[in-house]
Assembly symmetry: C2
Homo-oligomer: 159 residues x 2
């Protein structure tokens, strides 16, 4: 049976949360996961969804996912796609499933007139970096993302 | 007269495009700007807007802007705000206007239940980095953004 890439449905919420936790574990960031199925239901399938997901199935079983949303480039004057999470379960790696997920995202980006597909990778994740470079992706090496969260965010809001 | 931070309106489109071009010039990236007023009209004020903007006025004149959109954290299970562009005109710097723009974004993030406010900075822009760190923002130094665009994006879509 072939690999199938399909849009996620509400009945996939438990699966998506499991895959998010497996990815966090791989990234050594499990302690940061606070998301619940209710959160994902609201933001993926609620009145005002902010993100979308794809599920990869291999021989009928779910083996990976991609979660993404729209960003916007002021320089291009166009929306883009931002890939927040890409994950393939360890036992299904090396079969081109990650590439199939990225290819489907590139297709969606082209169909929607998006100018870019972007994502972030941990610097120690060399297999991922080699894979992304093989697809023609370029590292934005001279940029660093800054983040305000928790108390620092509240403090600035109330300053 | 005081500094005022207000949401951008359709009549600000020409101003916003000018400010985007001034920012690109400061970032030594002018050659990358392709956006038109029509593009901005569509994506900021059309049927399906993907981004929003704030305008800073000082003594009645526009002196800066912030352009942002929603992103999504799978780990938090919450949307965040992503600040694509922050710019204050050179003659109005040093008056706390950039901070007023960031403070308004932090307020919007809190009001909307967002877990994070994030943005990217060029590594050579030390004054900006010191400013962001003074607000409690943390650099995500172990992550690199990858980008697929142009022919590489189309090639992957059609692979």
């Amino acid at each position: 049976m072939e690999t199938v890439i399909r849009p996620a449905q509400p009945e996939d919420l438990g699966l998506i949360l499991s895959l998010i936790k497996e990815l966090a574990d791989y990234e050594r960031l499990s302690q940061e996961v606070r998301a619940s199925e209710d959160d994902l239901a609201r933001w993926l399938f609620g009145d005002k969804p902010v993100a979308e997901a794809l599920i990869a199935e291999d021989a009928g079983s779910p083996v990976g996912f991609a979660l993404f949303f729209h960003n916007f480039s002021t320089f291009l004057g166009l929306p883009g796609l931002y890939l927040e999470d890409l994950y393939v379960r360890p036992e299904s790696r090396g079969k081109g499933i990650g590439k199939r997920l990225l290819k489907e995202l590139a297709r969606i980006a082209n169909d929607r007139g998006c100018g870019r597909l972007e994502w972030a990778v941990l610097d120690w994740n060399e297999p991922a970096i080699r894979f992304y470079e093989s697809l023609g992706a370029k590292p934005m090496s001279d940029w660093t993302v800054f983040r305000l969260t928790g108390e620092s965010l509240t403090r600035l809001a109330e300053m």
